[in-house]
Assembly symmetry: C2
Amino acid sequence: MKAKGVERVRLDYSGCLKERVGSAGLGRGDIRLGCRAAAFAMRRLRQGLDAGQYGFDAILDDRRMIAASVREGQRLARLADVLIVNGIGGSALGPLALQSAMRPQKRRLIALDNVDPEGFAAKLAGLDPKRTAVDVITKSGSTAETMANLLILLKWMERALGPRHVHHWTATTDPKKGDLLVLARRLGIPALAIPENVGGRFSVLTPVGLLPAAFLGLDVAALVDGARLMRRHCWSAPPEKNVGVLGVVLLYLLATRRQRSIQVLMPYADGLLQFADWYRQLWAESLGKRVDRRGRKVETGQTPVTSLGATDQHSQVQLYMEGPQDKVVTFLEVERFRKEVAIPKAHADLASLGYLGGRSLGELLAAEKRGTEIALTAAGRPNFTYRLPTINEHVLGQLIYLFEFQTAIAGELYGINAFDQPGVEAGKVAAFALMGRKGYEAKAAELRQAAHQPRAVV
Amino acid sequence: MKAKGVERVRLDYSGCLKERVGSAGLGRGDIRLGCRAAAFAMRRLRQGLDAGQYGFDAILDDRRMIAASVREGQRLARLADVLIVNGIGGSALGPLALQSAMRPQKRRLIALDNVDPEGFAAKLAGLDPKRTAVDVITKSGSTAETMANLLILLKWMERALGPRHVHHWTATTDPKKGDLLVLARRLGIPALAIPENVGGRFSVLTPVGLLPAAFLGLDVAALVDGARLMRRHCWSAPPEKNVGVLGVVLLYLLATRRQRSIQVLMPYADGLLQFADWYRQLWAESLGKRVDRRGRKVETGQTPVTSLGATDQHSQVQLYMEGPQDKVVTFLEVERFRKEVAIPKAHADLASLGYLGGRSLGELLAAEKRGTEIALTAAGRPNFTYRLPTINEHVLGQLIYLFEFQTAIAGELYGINAFDQPGVEAGKVAAFALMGRKGYEAKAAELRQAAHQPRAVV
């Protein structure tokens, strides 16, 4: 066992091979060809990174940005026990994933990542504004949900703390533009920059995730170090020994050659379910695209589904085992838990209790995972496993870079732009029009017109 | 506005019609034919219900069972503030859905629905056994995860309370067989019966869900009344005005005629995400089947995906809008929230804040939902909406029966058995063998043999 922070996440892809799962699996030759395509994809991605088009890679070397995030997180930690993360999508999923995986004891985050009035009220109930800080996070500086929550929070904090309430705030947004930046300057609230070339879903290792991590007391240096280690691995290991390349090649081949239109990401660890949710955005929003880079209609995108082991063995595995041949299951397995719980020996005369006494919950969880993997493989259902040495900041940093790298490479393999999200525009515009925002009068008139169409309601 | 409890859930299926979404949609004729098939399916289901083969319907009339569940829940509520629901799958998803939707203030459930040692420890941390009760729920009386947690909890409770700890326990299991029943009798713990003809995922309106509901102080009578109202509606309203029939016909036609292999269930209400998770088991485990009733290989099952509005507009909607044409989106919309939150007017000179001041979070959420629906419809992506008058026990009861009815009908339409789960057996057996359970020695030897196969690990 090596010291904390130097063990790498490993990939076991036995369950994807033809020799194990039959015709749903991949041959060694398929994989070799896929790796060659990935080499081209890496070259194209490298160009984009070197040209500064995409920033998710270079941020790992931005020591000033990292230090500033940590400093600001620590400043807020001195005056608060709770940090409200007022952000949605990529602005909340990263911080929540880190908190959930690391289970900090002293401080906590509350994410205002929706505008459900009941949910909002429940989240604020019992909070003491005097021991609460707020980080408003929106790249554009204008996200409707975040702006609405911001207006409510400003009043709530000011009423409790008076003018000095501004000391409890941070804004995390575009460095040059947007209403949040204007407002932060107006109120004297520090504003941290999300680099212009880093989109929301790739931003967890910018102030978006690092400030909340520092607030929680997490080891930010280890988080970034883990990401750097995985970056070295992904860009330098030969394809056939490269976790980043092999993982994405398997997914790409299974999706395009074996009709696996759904990827089930199934951690066997409660603390990683929220991490799976972070991944769900990354994979879905990056790859779900109507047109390729040349403008041809392609409608790409594997649908990511999150599932929790062993819990969802009792909910979803029936479908994964027997339903349509449209899934690949990606397991996340933890080799050493930070806590273990012994199962006492008692009532050993009862068959369903006797074999458990003297074992541990961790052993049972491992057996459940292995059992599911064996059963899926025997049923000809492709699956693979990322083995995490344990859950700590270093491992999380590795996973973050690993999945960001794979997503970017997948974009190149599909020939699409993995870094935009044109498909959410239409819904936003319609919502603005319905809310009467200035500049959307034409759309509002169009919608009023359409509202006269008869509806089918029972 | 009618009094609480007499408003029915409505279905708006405009977004599924050809005239709105083009070729991905359904014509009125398609729907009429589908309703005719559903009429046959209802007849077959009726036979199964009348023969006592399936019990999810008759339980609504079992006043003794309902009263016993309430009594036992209230007994535990007198001596505890926290009820540990020690169960997994159908034994936990129902109780959790009710708690999450109803947001009780005085008492709470903790579900031990996994065997992650870190998660287990975190859930028990800070709990006072003296103010804690335990409901062990397993139909078979032998579920590995539940039995392991049971052994740990028995020791934990006994150490704190001594022999009188048994008063804090209830068992919910098969009325006639299983190790949990034996153990309950041995220890003098009351045992409530899950009717033999009701499977885990259909059991929320048996003691499985009703006891925890009563513990939380929910209105169990309203819950059951709501289910009864929906039962009357589903079995008596003409097909073209029948929420139950139309909803399942739309899903069936979209899945089989329009290749919509994924159903996204998307509530616009934080409190209903857990309910969507309950539904996810019901739909997946019931319909994900390898063979039909005649034994022919069919590999059926639409994959249910849960998504939360407005939150996941910033994570998944890009994929739903532009990705593969393989999804139908089912919205759950709440017409009256139990709380509303006003958005104050301030900084109205800033364009992204000005239009929000003076409105409410509920209005914004409604606009976001409507905006997403409009955008999906315009993009030719089929969707429909269940409109909930509000969130209360009566409405939840309606939804529970509605979805159980639809799932059972879908089983008939697909020609499969919606009430078994043969696909989880293989994984269970492998896990038993790996844990060294008696009777699984042959499987264990086979697995030891297989473990020598080389693995592909990087």
